[in-house]
Symmetry: C2
Subunit: 225 residues, 2 copies
DNA sequence: CACGCTCTAATTTGATCATATTCTTGGTCA
DNA sequence: TGACCAAGAATATGATCAAATTAGAGCGTG
């Protein structure tokens, strides 16, 4: 009868430890968005089991989720790899991002509070610092954070999920491009988005978002040669 | 020598039996789209294990995929259920369906072949028969088939995946509505889509698709009271 | 004689299952 | 009413089976 656990865990556990498969999922997801996994790279279950020190079942479940997300690809035989985008994929992603994320920007504008704007400004400041210091990984994280936080404001979980899915698909390619070009050439469209939020002008926000999306996807397109 | 399998199995096995988790996934997916699972219904792993006669691991993986698809919902504690749509969800689904599926209709129109139109007409005929005979399940299947086949023509896998995801989310609710109202009140917009395909007019196809989507989603909206 | 091809064996990896552990829940008793 | 307890379900592990890729040896040919 060890009291180490039962203590105060009855009514409300403040942070009921996340299941292993969730932790594994978030870890791999982060690696795909920001980190080690590059387009075309093969992903093995047993490799992840050893790398993450997790069991086999949680890793398998996480991989299934990521395949469903479009973040990983099931290669017909039993191989799994990070997808490589072609021109056609990119055109589709551009269309989807523009329609979905512009709408999220509109919805967010209608509901935004001053405190929300402050939080986004803080992220944008961190983003600027990452750019000026050439911190590619930091840039990617802050950029993703900015969009994610903005979309949370829209109170539109279904559209936000769709946007997340899209980010997982172009994330690896964006990382490769940024790794090649560095952070020097990013005019910051987020200032325009923030200005639109302050004015509470949905169409202006959508326009700024469209430019931001176009710019980011252009980077990737150039990276494809 | 039976040529069913061994023939030419060196280079490319034509139908190398799908893994169990794939089979289970497709089965549950079908049940969500057309069948037994209603919005709000609880789904247990062990229940599916017994119902499908499958092992536990494949069922778990299939459920993770379906949760990622938005077809099932993870209820915080370890419970899983079929999501219930509210008004806000429906508004988002309508926007996403219109933008994604209209674009798919445009792309399909640009690439459609006469044989493709014939195949779609055959599906539409079967759909009409299902409507006139009051076969709700048949209507749902043929309707889904019509859209899926059309989207395959667009040669846009990323957008098609997004559309599939959306269908999985409103599928259960559509089924409930159809079960209540029967099949009598469905003016068939597919004829307009087929006409646009024959004329190779992308914008006309997009318009017809928008009407079809609006009509279907309207049914669900009325079902929500 | 050397180069290349194919068939086979071994290793690596994925798929599945049986089982132990942990957590939620509903009932029961003080 | 509140807390404890038991039952059932989900999570997680490791082992086992099956499939596929790779490496290597043997054979044939230029």
């Amino acid at each position: 009868m060890n009291s180490s656990q039962s203590d105060a865990s009855n009514v409300a556990t403040p942070a009921a430890k996340p299941p292993a498969h969730e932790t594994v999922y978030q870890t791999i997801r982060g690696q795909i968005l920001f980190g080690e996994l590059a387009p075309g790279q093969a992903v093995t279950i047993q490799g992840l089991v050893e790398a993450l020190g997790a069991g086999m079942t949680p890793v398998r479940e996480a991989i299934r989720r990521l395949i469903s997300d479009g973040a990983l690809m099931f290669q017909g035989n039993r191989r799994v790899s990070v997808p490589v985008l072609d021109k056609n994929d990119l055109v589709q992603l551009i269309y989807a991002r523009k329609t979905i994320e512009c709408q999220l920007a509109r919805l967010a504008t209608e509901q935004v509070q001053p405190s929300d704007i402050s939080a986004l400004e803080a992220i944008d400041t961190a983003l600027d610092q990452a750019i000026s210091s050439g911190d590619v990984a930091g840039y990617l994280v802050q950029n993703y954070q900015f969009h994610t936080r903005l979309y949370e404001l829209a109170n539109a979980p279904i559209l936000s999920d769709l946007a997340d899915r899209l980010w997982l698909q172009f994330g690896p390619s964006l990382r490769v491009v940024c790794g090649r070009l560095g952070t020097q050439s990013f005019p910051d469209r987020h200032k325009d988005i923030l200005e639109a939020l302050r004015r509470k002008d949905p169409e202006l926000a959508a326009l700024a978002m469209e430019r931001d999306v176009a710019q980011g996807m252009d980077q990737i397109a150039q990276g494809l040669e």
